[in-house]
Amino acid sequence: MRIGITYTILRREELEIKERAGDFGEVFMLHEDDMVFPSNLDLDVVIIRNVGHFKALYLARLFESEGIPVVNPFTVMLEAGDKLLATLRLKDRVPVPDWRAGVSEKASEKAVEELGYPVVLKPVFGSWGRLLAKVNDRDALEAVLEHRKWLRNPLYGIHYVQKFVEKPGRDIRSYVIGGEFVTAIYRYSEHWITNTARGGKAEPCYDEEVRELSLRAWEAFGEGALAIDIFEGSEGLLVNEVNPNMEFKNAARVTGVDIAKKLVEYALEVAKA
């Protein structure tokens, strides 16, 4: 088996994936500086690990165009990697935070009025809680919309608004790979953004309801490896978002689950399919 791993930088995750992949076949580490398409790469599968969403997205499609299967596939990257498109996939299968969307500032203001304060304005792309804005009143809303306008990125003109969910000082991150529930953690933080990349602390989460909900969220996409963010709302669990380019070092550390191995085993299944 010839396994490619694309990357931007070698974090602990990429090193673990490389090591596990080495147990199953020949590994080709593909730095983004060294790949030009059309390529002459003879590979059975590629695991995409670039840090930037758009690089990962386009690499997925480039490899697929050469008949090389990838983890994650382009369509999963595209829809799971966009907060709004992911919600459209999820909303009929799992409970999600109340949301509105619009493509103009005026529509965004109307969306916020419908939901009522406080709300969270979420960029449709990006992660680690960057540029998430909790908006408590009209003044703050006007300021955030003004700032977004000056960021000069057309994607900030797509307005995705979520009703703010009061959380018990933590949220849940679960991992589903190829339809198999792998593990879950609680992420604790005093800040309303609980991402461990922003300093949140992690603990294992063993909860049957989380397992079941995570699998249903994964089924909304039907393939791939997804990290799923879940809120404990006052009326039950809510799927906040999904991540198609998962980081997992904290989850692997506190749960003892070898997530890198699960990812590689799934890539091998994809290669054989």
């Binding site: 930088i9 090193l15 930037g52 992660s127 198609p244 380019n245």
Partner: protein, 61 residues
């Protein structure tokens, strides 16, 4: 022996400390044990470290 030890040491570009980062690969991320900065190995021969690039807009999961 002394020479090998000297070769293993590399300067942290953030705090200037001489640090031992062990066996590394090109583009590997290492943490400076002195100042905690996250550094990328940008060259192997000789080993050169640079502070990780600024987070870009679409970085993350």
């Amino acid at each position: 022996m002394e020479k090998a030890e000297v070769v293993d040491m590399v300067e942290c570009p953030v705090c200037g400390s001489e640090i031992d980062i062990g066996d590394v690969e090109l583009h590997q991320v290492v943490e400076c044990p002195v100042c905690g900065a996250e550094l990328e190995v940008v060259s192997l021969n000789p080993i050169v470290l640079e502070e990780l690039p600024e987070v870009e807009e679409d970085w993350g999961e």
